[in-house]
Symmetry: C2
Subunit: 342 residues, 2 copies
DNA sequence: TTGAAAGCGCTAACAG
DNA sequence: CTGTTAGCGCTTTCAA
């Protein structure tokens, strides 16, 4: 019941606590046999270091805060998997908080992380600018922050990791064009998210190139849930816009749009092809499965921690900006199959 | 940059640290004006207590460990939302770990939580019995544990929270029967999960009642992902089993089965109706949307923390077993709509 | 009502 | 190579 401390070991072995500490910390100033004796006793007595004591001493909390906008989709889950890959077995623990797409909640989470004295924060924003000042303040007060996926504007000099939204979007939209589609909608997500704009830019580039662009084809959604996509599709159709394909900001939006269309008896992809951008299991969980830009999410998580550990070790290190390479996956939502009855 | 400590306040005010501490901890042995003076100075200087120091003193870590089998589906996300609802603004922080449906990883996570000296653990098992001994050991060593959703066998006396799997399953299956279905498959999930068996029992009860039971209709899956459902469906069909409805253990399994059938040109629900059990957004994200037993997941998370806080406050308190009431939601996957062209 | 001092578990500077 | 001592930030006796 009572935890074994370094003192217990020292009493047991008739040594001083400092000697025990030295053995445990692999200090050079100790005789080999002594160290071994201590290590053995530690194991025997079931000694586990007390993190609070370590933390008090070092002034660090040995924990890393991860703040994500949501955990409804498997997106954040994948990121966390990457983070845990790197951190498991290390002294660091992971504290997770969700902002529920609400910048005020994000603010609370950030302040909470600071109070907990986390050694660093890894964050995926839910609004591009809302908490901009706070990010700067936290950085100034000495907590390193790494941004991934939805990052702040470039006037904030911080380490970042994401995929190249723009050029990948262009490629995906070109794929749609290559299948013969001419009226491609961009279901672009909210303008308050940087990536939505980036991906829209990539989309535009492709459409300009093939002289297919039309303002009516770009439609903003109020949020990122599948419900927002349904609303947007409704608006679009009521407005009388004709379209034969959709390029959506995320899997959730693509799915919302697809379900709305299926309900209205559209055939996918014959009447309307759908492509999305994300890389979560969701794209394979719907029918027909979605063509999508698959981001290397686990790797993104891993990279984010690595950038953070770098910053923790050397706070004055240069702020790196890592771009990962996504993969384009083509599935049934954009490629018709020859039909055959069951 | 440097954190403000209680000492800084004491120097600033020419008081002793103990007085400052008293003011901050709402001790009665302090003059009102002194307290106010201290509080004001604390605010002015931007004082934030150092959790590590508190923890070292109290021997507690003021953190709560949450261990979930997966975060691919929004299930755990909802639970975490409930947990954060109760805990936000409290002194407790939440440490999350995923077991990836692997009992060995679960074991590692449990030991990690113990090393971190969490004040308690909230856990959703990934295997009914694998780590049974370890649960008991951790409890014996003094860390309270609350189990939710997938709970251990009843010979482990611990607080638990879940919904009534069995009787709710019966009701849902009776719904399928009421729509005229006679050959209802139970896609039951792995037998190593208690709830799978419970739900199967509920299913059987309904089928016995209406004399519809047939051993061939019960099919176990190897795991809980949508891929396992596809495999199971394939096996079932190859075996030549005739069926007109499916009752699935979870949303993921229901979705996997549905997609497999849609691919094979079955009509849902006309050829095969599908009902599931879970309560995540997933059931609404597919087409047709799934009829499902919607569990109050946020509430489940809230209840779990409350049970835990109770145990933390009073370790000898009786182990409560809370059953929450789920809601049956009927959607298009079991109820055909009159068809009309777009 | 306040201050001085001890101590939570651990590390590290300083002696020996 | 090992022991003594101080101190991280805070709470809590014990005295005053």
């Amino acid at each position: 019941m009572k935890r074994v401390t370094i003192k217990d070991i020292s009493k047991h072995l008739l040594l001083s606590t400092s000697t025990v500490s030295r053995a445990l910390t692999d200090d050079k100033n100790i005789r080999k046999e002594t160290r071994e004796k201590v290590l053995e006793a530690a194991k025997e007595l079931g000694y586990k270091p007390n993190p609070s004591a370590l933390n008090l001493k070092s002034g660090k909390s040995n924990s890393i805060g991860v703040i994500v906008p949501e955990m409804i989709t498997p997106f954040s889950s994948k990121i966390l998997e990457g983070i845990q890959n790197v951190l498991s077995g290390s002294k660091f623990r992971v504290i997770v908080a969700q902002s529920n797409e609400n910048p005020e909640t994000e603010r609370t989470n950030l302040l909470m992380m600071e109070e907990f004295r986390v050694d660093g924060i890894i964050i995926n924003l839910c609004h591009e600018t809302y908490n901009h000042k706070l990010y700067q303040e936290i950085l100034d007060r000495g907590t390193p922050m790494i941004f991934f996926d939805r990052i702040p504007p470039s006037n904030l000099d911080v380490p970042k990791v994401l995929v190249n939204d723009q050029s990948t979007s262009t490629t995906m939209v070109e794929h749609l064009i290559s299948t013969g589609k001419k009226r491609i909608v961009n279901l672009m997500g909210p303008k308050t998210i940087r990536n939505a704009i980036q991906r829209a830019d990539g989309y535009k580039k492709a459409l300009y190139k093939y002289k297919l662009f039309d303002d009516d084809l770009v439609i903003e959604t109020e949020g990122t849930s599948f419900i927002h996509a349904k609303e947007a599709m409704k608006r679009l159709i009521e407005k009388g816009v004709v379209f034969d394909a959709i390029f959506a900001f995320t899997d959730s939006l693509a799915i919302g749009a697809m379900n709305y269309l299926l309900e209205k008896k559209y055939r996918i992809p014959e009447d309307v092809a759908i492509a999305s951008f994300s890389g979560t299991e969701l794209s394979q969980m719907v029918f027909p499965p979605l063509s999508t830009v698959e981001q290397p999410l686990v790797e993104m998580g891993e990279t984010a921690v690595e950038l953070l550990l770098e910053k923790i070790k050397n706070p004055t290190s240069k702020n790196r900006f890592v771009q990962l390479k996504p993969e384009l996956i083509f599935r049934r939502s954009t490629i018709a199959q020859q039909s055959h009855q069951k």
